[in-house]
Symmetry: C2
Subunit: 470 residues, 2 copies
């Protein structure tokens, strides 16, 4: 945070944003904002001064909340030294729009100031030649780290780690360790513990800074250090590391290689960002949005982001439509079937999604495994039967009252119960099968269960009706 | 973490869990596990010894992954001193089951050991008389804190804060501050900064521990402290505080009252738990699950958890069914309508939910406000028209090929385009209206848009067909 003498409260970012938006609103009264020239120079000076005092995360939020033209005007006013930090903070969609507005020299300058692990985070979005230039400009050690950081997949601990760990030897006193720290002038952010290593850089334990402070300076580091350490390896899943941070309330954790040599660390701020990103993308993928969509993105980008999901759902809807097509003769004879069939299909989809959601959550939290399948099937089938008799019974009575046919009411009740049972079966079977195949049960389970309960619901209801009513 | 000399890696919890499950599996070969007596005594001894070495978060995970009978057996083996910590770690559903198995004395003993803010977290789940007993047993200061912590709503900073802050005066040297810390023996977890207060306990600034270590001991605290501090108040929304932690990479933050007096602090581990809980409940509520459901919960509890959602969706499905009922005459004449109508309704629901998801996210992140509505409407309407012409066109051609009627194909294309536009309109209007009314747009928007696009889709398609085809 800049030491501007200002005090932060939680509304202050919103206030800054409101001011920036008010500035553009005033300018817009004189015409469209197509270049920086339409804004009064004194407003620009004031805006630049304000941006200089803000934390890069706050500037990032302002940029995200502005439409493209205004965003680029603000971006050009931000001082170049902050460009790198801000690019790290903004969402992917907004980052693309900012990078597209910069020329290669500006991009190289913005990127060079960053740490190797941060450059690695930006790398996928940078033009190839910019990345090459940045790589050439780095010191040997930094190049090594950049290569290392870029070599791990996005969802691994290697992608979360940084290289700013402070190490000490176990055979020195706290006094010596403290003197060493004083020589560093500033400690890296989130240094809550020192990593104790031997002469081969192998991790022996950790020494919490708080222990360093409260204990007698004459004591040896090795006496006080904790050996029971949560150790990560770069190939561990980021998801598992995040759970360890949550479970053990960590601020930082060491990352070691196969030979137990310390190669980096993961800090809680990175983990918080990871958790947030992950829950965002879970929510987005449930609605079939492939990536975070900048609300001010172009129509073309929005179409691209959304089309796959619509296509997939059209295919499943088309299959359901063909199932109905099989029974057109029955519907012609008893048109009430057309009005009632969406109820049967709909309740199956809703109930199946409830089962899926619960089971996918429990799998993610490590609470259930493949062996529990039988028990879960039994329970869900009973729940769905009871739901079917209850809700199916009510709708059956309503159908009888509307159409005056007891048989129609009974068919409705039976069809709803059977489709709910089908939903329960699929709601357990789909995620458990994905688990068994080693795939992520969160992806695609929901579309699959809805496809089955839609087509299945129509088939069951129209099939029973054809058998018993016609 | 217990200083057991063991090393943690990320799989170790899972291994412990597997061992416990294997133990019960062996016991089950001799009959149902209805009491602790069916388990060989030597197994119980080994299990108890293992549980004693585990972190309470790991024991919590094991308890969550066991069916009720086995869970209670393990719970009774856990040493009583850990009961309080473990109750804090487990999910709400599992906590209920554990509390139900304990008698009042055990519960009072488990709760008494906790800090005031932790007791406040458990309080809603404790029987009234247990809570009274615990309250009586507390020291005056702790009672005050418990009352304070319980007085704030669940989603406020007051509910997240603890009282373990370390304070210093600004007019002392670092040397004096360090000597004061040494007298404390241990610092509270997550003490990354000292809170600098004046003699009225008003917050002047914060001194990061890392600055305390690396600077000259003769310097005054007030010279080094940072005045630009993120300050929370107990009435702030927890959600906003979490965003501040993410944005500024905080480990702890002070909480002050209206007169700027320091009353507590919030730490990043609490924030991580809050973020996780929140994203869980968002995912659950999207499927209409009212609370986290223990996968091993009884059938009755599951029914109770799920019924409201099913009832709500049945009502909307019933309304859609009545819309179809209006056009039974048309369907009787042209039965192809019955097969095609779910496609029109379905694509509207999918597309509307994409729009809603995107806008609800952007609102939550503070990127859009009520004034942006017009711009968003324009964009979404254009996107939906293009989607309608594309997908509606394809399905229109398919309908023509299937049923040999050009007019039917054209009606299909037009109906899909109109329903997608309706979905876009509602996808923007519903969350923006909720925002304007000061309500949470994440709750209920999705059901509403689906209800409108279902009934609307049937009405548009069957209405157009009645006008142009019959």
């Amino acid at each position: 945070m800049p030491d501007s003498g200002l005090e932060h409260d939680l509304d202050s970012v919103q206030e800054h944003l409101d001011e920036v938006q008010a500035l553009f609103a005033r300018a817009k009264e004189f015409g469209p904002i197509d270049s920086v020239n339409v804004i009064p120079p004194e407003d620009l000076v004031a805006l630049r001064a304000k941006l200089d005092t803000l934390h890069s995360a706050d500037v990032a939020l302002i940029l995200e909340a502005l439409p493209l033209d205004e965003r680029i005007i603000v971006w050009d006013l931000v001082r170049a030294e902050s460009h790198g930090d801000i690019l790290l903070e903004v969402s992917d969609a907004v980052r693309d729009s900012l990078i597209a507005s910069m020329d290669p020299d500006e991009l190289v300058a913005a990127t060079e100031q960053l740490d190797a692990d941060e450059i690695a985070d930006l790398a996928p979005d940078l033009p190839r030649d910019v990345l090459d230039d940045v790589y050439q400009s780095l010191a040997v050690e930094d190049r090594e780290q950049l290569r290392e950081a870029m070599s791990y997949p996005e969802d691994s601990v290697g992608a979360l780690m940084d290289f700013e760990m402070v190490t000490v030897r176990g055979d020195v006193t706290l006094e010596v360790a403290l003197r060493y720290l004083r020589r560093l002038d500033v400690l890296p952010d989130h240094t809550d513990q020192l990593f104790v290593v031997d002469r081969d850089e192998r991790l022996d334990g950790v020494l919490p800074i708080n222990k360093l402070i409260v204990n007698d300076p004459e004591v040896l580091v090795s006496t006080l250090m904790m050996r029971d350490v949560v150790k990560l390896t770069p190939g561990d899943k980021a998801q598992d590391a995040a759970q360890a941070f949550e479970r053990y309330d960590l601020v930082s954790a060491p990352v070691v290689d196969r030979n137990d040599r310390l190669i980096g660390r993961v800090t809680v701020n990175t983990v918080v960002d990871f958790i947030r990103d992950q829950s965002e993308s879970e929510l987005l993928s449930q609605a079939g949005l492939r990536e975070e969509e900048d609300v001010f993105a172009s129509v073309w980008k929005s179409l691209h982001n959304r089309w796959a999901w619509l296509a997939l759902n059209l295919i499943t809807a088309f299959i359901a439509s063909r199932v109905i097509g099989l029974f057109e003769g029955s519907i012609e004879k008893l048109v009430a079937l057309a009005a009632l069939m969406p109820i049967v299909a709909g309740i199956g989809g809703n109930s199946g999604n409830q089962t899926i959601t619960m089971i996918v959550r429990a799998i993610a939290l490590g609470q259930i495994e493949v062996e529990h399948a039988a028990r879960l099937f039994r329970k869900e089938i009973v729940v769905s039967m009871l739901n079917g008799l209850l809700w199916g019974g009510i709708i059956g009575v309503v159908a009888y009252l509307l159409y005056g046919s007891v048989q129609l009411g009974l068919v409705m009740t039976l069809a709803m119960t059977l489709n709910l049972m089908l939903a329960a079966l699929m709601g357990v079977a789909i995620p458990m099968t994905m688990l068994k195949l080693g795939r992520d049960p969160a992806v695609g389970s929901s579309v699959l269960v809805t496809a089955v309960t839609d087509s299945g619901g129509f088939f069951i209801f129209l099939g029973l009706a054809t058998l018993f009513l016609l």
